[in-house]
Symmetry: C2
Subunit: 160 residues, 2 copies
């Protein structure tokens, strides 16, 4: 049964292609090419439709919400935090200050994910606001200043 493995590989590749297309769209917009930016956005959306379709086909990998929360809290987040910590240290050794800061921010942001998961199951969280600089997720209202990277309130995107 090679297909399960194939779908998992394509899911990962098309997710990455989709994310890269989003960045290429930003770049095209910055170069004053809005028509190409729109093209890359369309490709981004198309790839993301493919990725979602493959993931749905990988039924064994999409458990119940209960299982998904557990997997994210127990496996995904700890691995992410560890990698960000290790990579931030290596960036320091490499003398790449900007990368070190970005990775250190990501570690702090990922450190808050488990609280978010716990609160979502017990508290009444009305909305989330995501810092567009470092990814920090604020519950209910956007803070005046991002506690992780210091970005101003206007940099937060609401998810409701």
């Amino acid at each position: 049964m090679k297909t399960r493995q194939n779908l998992a590989e394509l899911f990962a590749r098309e997710s990455v292609f989709s994310a890269r297309s989003a960045v290429f769209a930003l770049k095209a917009r910055k170069e004053g090419k809005p028509e190409i930016a729109r093209l890359f956005q369309a490709l981004c959306e198309s790839e993301s439709v493919h990725a979602r379709r493959y993931l749905r086909l990988l039924r064994g990998r999409i458990g119940s919400t209960r299982e998904n929360l557990d997997e994210v809290a127990r496996r995904v987040i700890p691995e992410l935090k560890d990698s960000c910590r290790d990579f931030a240290a290596e960036a320091g050794v490499d003398g790449m200050k900007v990368a070190e800061e970005a990775l250190s921010h990501s570690r702090q942001v990922a450190g808050g994910y488990v609280d978010l998961i716990n609160h979502a199951q017990t508290d009444n969280v009305a909305a989330y606001h995501v810092c567009q600089v470092c990814g920090f997720v604020a519950e209910n209202a956007a803070p005046l200043k991002c506690p992780v990277c210091g970005a101003l309130q206007m940099k937060f995107k609401p998810i409701d």
Copy 2:
């Protein structure tokens, strides 16, 4: 200089985590848990902020729009089409009809990407519409029926 490789790895991992979170959000919504769906959407957005930040740090990998279009047309799309074709054939052998159809649709959709790239540079494309079932990208207006998967017009999402 280990950091460049670390950023590339984290970019891929957070892109995949972001895409999976979007699917977990759909699943939570289907289970009647809108508050958990919102949490997964916030995580999806946060991870996608991280992924974009890493990609921007990988400066060498983000060329000009000219180079990005070339790379996508010459490398990414042909590789994607080949994989979809091979994997569709293997899904046929595995007797996984639904996966075979999905992969065959993706191959057809990817086959249209190069035309999209060419048209975006020469024609005046006012908008794109992306089929939410198979990812087919229509130029200007959404068709009455998706030429790849047969989905109705209401299944198209506008990108403008």
